[in-house]
């Protein structure tokens, strides 16, 4: 892992390249470095870290920070296989304009994972080659992993062989 100092160095490099507002927050929690950047700078940040050896995008996941604002978060877990380092790049977007530039052209592995974040949280990845729902049915409405989406109450899709009330006692 880049230690707390290494994380600050990376953050400073990002600030030098893209202005002071590029890095919103750095956290170092339980030996894990996280850098939160402006959503518009996702490609630049990941590209910058790739030059530092983080060639492998392990995971992309969505988080809903409800009731905090901006609510939705997208995390990119980067891995440096030679130094065995990990760093998390974090973005926060609001539910009103949940738009992030897709990194699939640069990182082909993000294809399915960005589709999953779109499916579950409604984050739209611009320039994604094939942004469709991936786990939920195509005609599904709503984004089920958001915190204000209720658990249960899901209509049962296939009910043709569901037992009906015979009404013997009536």
């Amino acid at each position: 892992m880049p230690d707390a100092t290494g994380l600050e160095l990376i953050a400073q490099e990002l600030r030098d390249a893209h202005g002071d507002s590029a890095v919103l927050e750095t956290t170092y929690f339980r030996d894990k470095a996280t850098v939160q950047v402006a959503p518009s700078l996702v490609r630049e940040t990941l590209g910058h870290l790739k030059e530092h050896g983080f060639h492998f995008l392990a995971s992309v996941h969505g988080v809903d920070y409800y009731p905090e604002e901006p609510r939705l978060g997208v995390h990119y877990e980067l891995l440096d296989m030679t130094e065995v380092d990990r760093i998390t790049v974090k973005l926060r977007v609001s539910t009103d304009a949940p738009v992030v530039l897709s990194v699939t052209p640069q990182w082909p592995t993000a294809d399915h994972q960005e589709r999953e974040v779109y499916d579950m949280f409604g984050v739209v990845f611009e320039e994604h080659p094939d942004l469709r729902r991936i786990l939920m049915p195509e005609d599904y409405e709503g984004y089920p992993q958001r915190r204000d989406f209720p658990i249960g109450g899901e209509p049962v899709l296939f009910t043709h062989n569901e037992p009906t009330n015979p009404g013997y006692w009536q």
Binding site: R30, S59, V63, V84, M136, R147
Partner: protein
């Protein structure tokens, strides 16, 4: 040979061949290389290892394009886990990748332990490793069985299934369940191993090498299987890394990336084992790598049994781990802790953790976000099958559809893990 066109003898009949000649063929004669056929494979197909649907575009017998369509067994486990206390979420999370249940539980428990900064006692770590590696053996044996079935080598299926069943017997003995055992807890494991378990494991480990040899003799001297595996589904290491592929698939292409060695967790650094790698990255290498991994796992289990430390199998921190049953009758403290844990569960300080481990299929990682309550605010599983499935297209493009079946078998996707 007798005449085919018997109709010519009938009164008024004309030769079938003649009849054909009268048809103007030009308008249906299409250039061979422009005919594309869309073939839907699955979701219910014996060769798709579950409910995987593949939309293939074929040109003759050659696959030109393939689109996996998934989500048929999506059960919203990640959402369900948000509604359960941390330790009550373990059983549902175990059911994601249903062949690697110990690994799912390990990733989740590891993430929660990271958030809590909770240490697992050495015996707990060794017990975990023994079970993880037995689970890896079981998972690879099932892959061998099902993969053999896909290639038409049905006898391998019965033999490998028999041995996998012995592993499940061991799980039943140690935890009471054959699958989805809920054996791993936050802070350690649920129970110590029973008397006689170790001897049973050793008996199994003594039998397995000769069995593996038998399977290899069955497969490696079968010309048909070899021809279907060798030189098919080759993807180079660079493409695989770009697609995020890990596990045996990446190692078959020559990259020795294994989290057990690279970033040892749960005292994997105490063990002496090797990382098998392939050379070409074809289906045959994938098969060899997995077979070699079974042998390495056996070594780890044996070392875990030999060096099993004495002491507690679960953390002594009563805020997070259940007190022993016998204390409940004598200690008020224990009763209170038990009550608190069973009703509300423990609270986890706010934070985010990403805990990667090496599952039988690659990097399995659990992301947990805690908001300070007793339920996780977000659980996300980075499932290797989900990511590795993207590599199917470069593997099978411009190859025969029969090789698609072989490649899918050697890819080893588990739909429970893909759809979650």
């Amino acid at each position: 040979m007798s005449e085919v066109d018997t109709r010519a003898d009938r009164p008024g009949g004309i030769s079938y061949r003649r009849q054909e000649e009268s048809i103007e063929l030009e308008h249906i004669a299409h250039p061979e290389h422009e005919e594309l056929l869309t073939l839907n494979l699955g979701p219910h197909h014996p060769a798709t290892h579950g409910v995987l649907r593949l939309l293939t575009t074929l040109e003759g017998e050659v696959v030109r394009d393939i689109k996996p369509i998934i989500g048929y067994v999506h059960t919203g486990i990640e959402k369900t886990a948000e509604d359960k206390a941390y330790w009550k979420a373990i059983p549902v999370i175990e059911r994601m990748d249903y062949l690697a249940y110990y690994f799912n539980a390990m990733a989740f428990c590891g993430a929660v332990e990271t958030l809590l900064d909770l240490d697992v006692p050495p015996r707990g770590q060794y017990l975990r490793i023994a079970h993880l590696e037995l689970n890896r053996i079981a998972s690879h044996l099932l892959w061998l069985a099902a993969g053999g079935l896909d290639l038409g080598a049905i006898s391998v299926f019965w033999y490998a299934w028999r041995d996998r069943d012995r592993v499940l017997d061991l799980f039943e003995m140690s935890s009471g369940q054959r699958m989805h055992t809920r054996y791993f807890q936050v802070g350690g494991v649920a129970e110590d191993i029973p008397t006689g378990w170790e001897a049973k494991v050793r008996e199994f480990l003594a039998d397995l090498p000769s069995r593996l040899e038998q399977y290899e003799n069955l497969i490696d001297s079968n010309e048909i299987v070899l021809q279907r595996l060798r030189g098919t589904g080759i993807v180079d290491e660079r493409t695989l890394l770009g697609l995020g592929v890990t596990g045996p698939l990446l190692r078959a292409s020559g990259n020795p990336w294994d989290l057990r060695k690279a970033a040892p967790y749960s005292s994997y650094d105490h063990f002496d084992f090797k990382i098998p790698v392939g050379t070409v990255g074809d289906n045959y290498d994938r098969y060899r790598v997995r077979m070699a991994e079974i042998r390495e796992s056996m070594k780890i289990v044996e070392q875990a049994l030999d060096g099993m430390p004495e002491g507690a199998y679960i953390s002594g921190n009563r805020k997070y781990a259940l007190p022993p049953r016998h204390e409940l009758a004598t200690s008020m403290e224990a009763l209170i802790h038990h009550f608190k844990l069973v009703t509300e569960g423990f609270r986890v300080p706010p934070g985010e953790a990403y805990y990667p481990i090496e599952s039988p299929r690659g990097e399995l990682a659990c992301f947990v976000r805690a908001d300070g309550s007793s339920k996780p605010a977000r659980v996300h599983m980075r499932d290797p099958s989900f990511v590795n499935l993207q590599a199917l297209k470069p593997m099978v493009e411009d190859e025969y559809i029969a090789d698609l079946i072989a490649t899918l078998a050697m890819l080893d996707p588990i739909l429970g893990g893909i759809d979650r």
